[in-house]
């Protein structure tokens, strides 16, 4: 017996496998370093985005601390490897630190109303950047850490761009699989029912707090893994990298990609990286910093006004509705019953 859901899930897996093949070929097609850098960055951002999508879209948590969790992953790798440790150990340390911090912070905080949750995660974010910036003995302070050692398996070191692309996109695939499984699992479906509502928590008899905590930890750990990969790719990091502008970029990523769409993170990542690499340099003409901040801010505002659940999700749901209406027109025996209003009630 196969439920439609399982079929859908399997389809998703196949589609993603296809995407992986495409990515595997890409570095061979685009041989030049710049193209490869762009492809690599898209993979990294997609990992960052999946972590935030999980906490925000699935968990309904406005997570202002995501950049900080990425920073924790990055700094764990940086500190461990520069002190002679294995990069994989560095990543593991990042996972553990981010996971434990997310758990400890989340444990009491996830009971709070969504507004307080946003404030609390903001505080965590600022506290982490404060520590990164001022605990000079460990983190190198504002100067950051240099000489971060790349990942390796046996004698093979992921040092040239194509191999790093494979590494990062490999991790992205894992993150995607985790997300697909969460989406189609019981947990994911529970979240579909209770998203964005504080009240529904108890009335549906679902232990909302525990589920949110779980999602918060998983999302933060995915962020930390991304951070670890980011640090080894850059080989030098500073605390500024994980500040507010970076967080906004990931918010824009999720806003464009959609809060729940499975394809959202890669789509958002492509959009953000392309904006950053190609569009904004043209518009700003040299003064990229503030212009970029303004452009990302404007995008965030406009998308959130017109598509509160993100652009991709909006496009998908609008298309579905149009298709449904078109079908109904053809059949016209069915009465029209699905409107945005009813969906809102159901959500």
């Amino acid at each position: 017996m196969k439920s439609p859901l399982m079929t859908k899930r399997r389809n998703q897996h196949f589609i993603w496998l296809g995407a992986v093949v495409v990515v595997a070929v890409l570095p061979l097609v685009f041989g030049d370093g710049y193209s490869q850098t762009v492809i690599l960055t898209i993979g990294l951002y997609a990992i960052f985005g999946i972590g935030l999508q999980l906490t925000m879209g699935t968990g309904g948590i406005l997570n202002m601390g995501h950049a900080a969790f990425i920073g924790i992953g990055a700094y764990s790798s940086a500190i461990v490897t520069t002190k002679g440790g294995n990069p994989w150990v560095g990543m593991l340390v990042g996972i553990v630190v981010a996971g434990v911090l997310a758990f400890v912070v989340g444990l009491p905080i996830l009971r709070l109303r969504s507004l307080y949750l946003a404030i609390a995660t903001l505080c965590v974010a600022l506290a982490v950047t404060n520590v990164l910036g001022f605990w000079t003995a460990l983190t190198g302070g504002q100067n950051g850490v240099t000489g971060i050692v790349p990942f390796s398996i046996g004698d093979f070191s992921f040092i040239d761009l194509p191999s790093q692309i494979y590494l990062i996109w490999g991790f992205l695939l894992v993150a995607v699989l985790i997300r697909i499984n969460l989406r189609y699992s019981v947990v994911g479906r529970e979240f579909e029912a209770i998203k964005d509502s504080d009240l529904a928590t108890s009335s549906l008899g679902i232990n909302h707090g525990a589920r949110r905590l779980q999602i918060f930890v998983i999302g933060s750990v995915i962020g930390a893994v991304g951070g670890s990969l980011y640090a080894t790719y850059l080989s030098a990091i500073t605390p500024d990298l994980f500040g507010f502008p970076f967080l906004i970029q990931i918010f824009v990523l999720v806003a464009l990609g959609g809060m729940v769409s499975l394809w959202g993170a890669p789509i958002g990542a492509i959009a953000v990286v392309c904006l950053h690499e190609f569009v904004i340099p043209v518009i700003s003409g040299g003064n990229a910093g503030p212009v970029e901040i303004v452009i990302f801010g404007v995008i965030l505002v406009i998308v959130m006004i017109f598509a509160p659940n993100g652009l991709t999700d909006q496009v998908v749901s609008t298309t579905r509705r149009l298709v449904k209406i078109a079908r109904r027109r053809r059949n016209h025996d069915e009465p029209s019953s699905v409107t945005p209003a009813s969906k809102k009630v159901a959500a």
């Binding site: 019953s337 409107t339 209003a341 009813s342 809102k344 009630v345």
Partner: protein
């Protein structure tokens, strides 16, 4: 027959997907008290909310002195002269009694506001004694009185009252009904939803019976009071 002031013409309305009113019509004459009777879920509150613009009507017409209220916002409908006292005692807890009253006159000029406040406090001595008190500290009956008094601050032409006596002590019920009865003299028209059907009909001039979102019956209140078929379905439950 007094001149019609509020005319509700086959309105269709509801919440989200749920359609509750399927074309209800009624009229309220000038200075008239009209009772709206029906069981729970028949659409009484929905009708009230639609008239005040809190719910958008899907079709039909609502006219105040012949002027259509279609698409008007609740705040503009209030300013045109229809005031709703919703079910439950909606005082602004945390604000003084007199500030509550002044909110009722929001947007009027200061001199009108102050005159109206003095007039209202004189009319409701119970509130005058407590003018400087937090509205949240009043008893249930006093709060209900305050809400009615606040609605009168704007001198509405039509007052919609949704279950004004619900949950009040018998003595307060009497006070509230006295106030409603006295509205007739001041020329305010009233549309009254009241779970105590007998008391409601005794107070009213005319009545409508609403069932499943449509008006099924209308007549003089005293005729309805005397009608045994009606007393079986509603009046018996009025004593609860």
């Amino acid at each position: 027959m007094p001149e019609t002031i509020l005319e509700i013409d086959s309105i269709v309305s509801g919440y989200g997907e749920l359609e509750i009113l399927h074309g209800a019509s009624l009229t309220v004459g000038s200075g008239e008290i009209v009772a709206l009777i029906g069981s729970n879920g028949a659409g009484k509150s929905t009708l009230m909310k639609t008239v005040t613009g809190l719910l958008k009507m899907r079709s039909g017409e609502i006219r105040l002195r012949g002027e259509s209220l279609k698409g008007a916002s609740p705040e503009s409908i209030v300013r045109k002269g229809i005031n709703l006292v919703p079910e439950g005692r909606h005082v602004f807890a945390g604000m003084k009694v007199e500030d509550n009253l002044l909110v009722g006159a929001y947007g009027l000029s200061k001199s009108v506001r102050d005159a109206k406040l003095a007039e209202t406090l004189a009319r409701f001595p119970l509130l005058k004694e407590r003018a400087k008190q937090d509205a949240g500290s009043l008893s249930g009956g006093q709060q209900q009185l305050l809400v009615v008094a606040r609605a009168l601050m704007r001198s509405p032409s039509v007052l919609l009252l949704d279950e004004p006596s619900l949950g009040l002590s018998p003595i307060m019920v009497e006070t509230v009904f006295e106030v409603i009865g006295s509205l007739r003299e001041s020329g305010v028209s009233v549309l009254l939803v009241e779970q105590n059907v007998t008391a409601g009909l005794e107070l009213a001039d005319r009545a409508y019976v609403i069932e499943n979102g449509a008006i099924v019956r209308t007549g003089q209140a005293k005729d309805m009071l005397a009608d045994p078929s009606l007393s079986n379905s509603f009046l018996g439950s009025g004593a609860e």
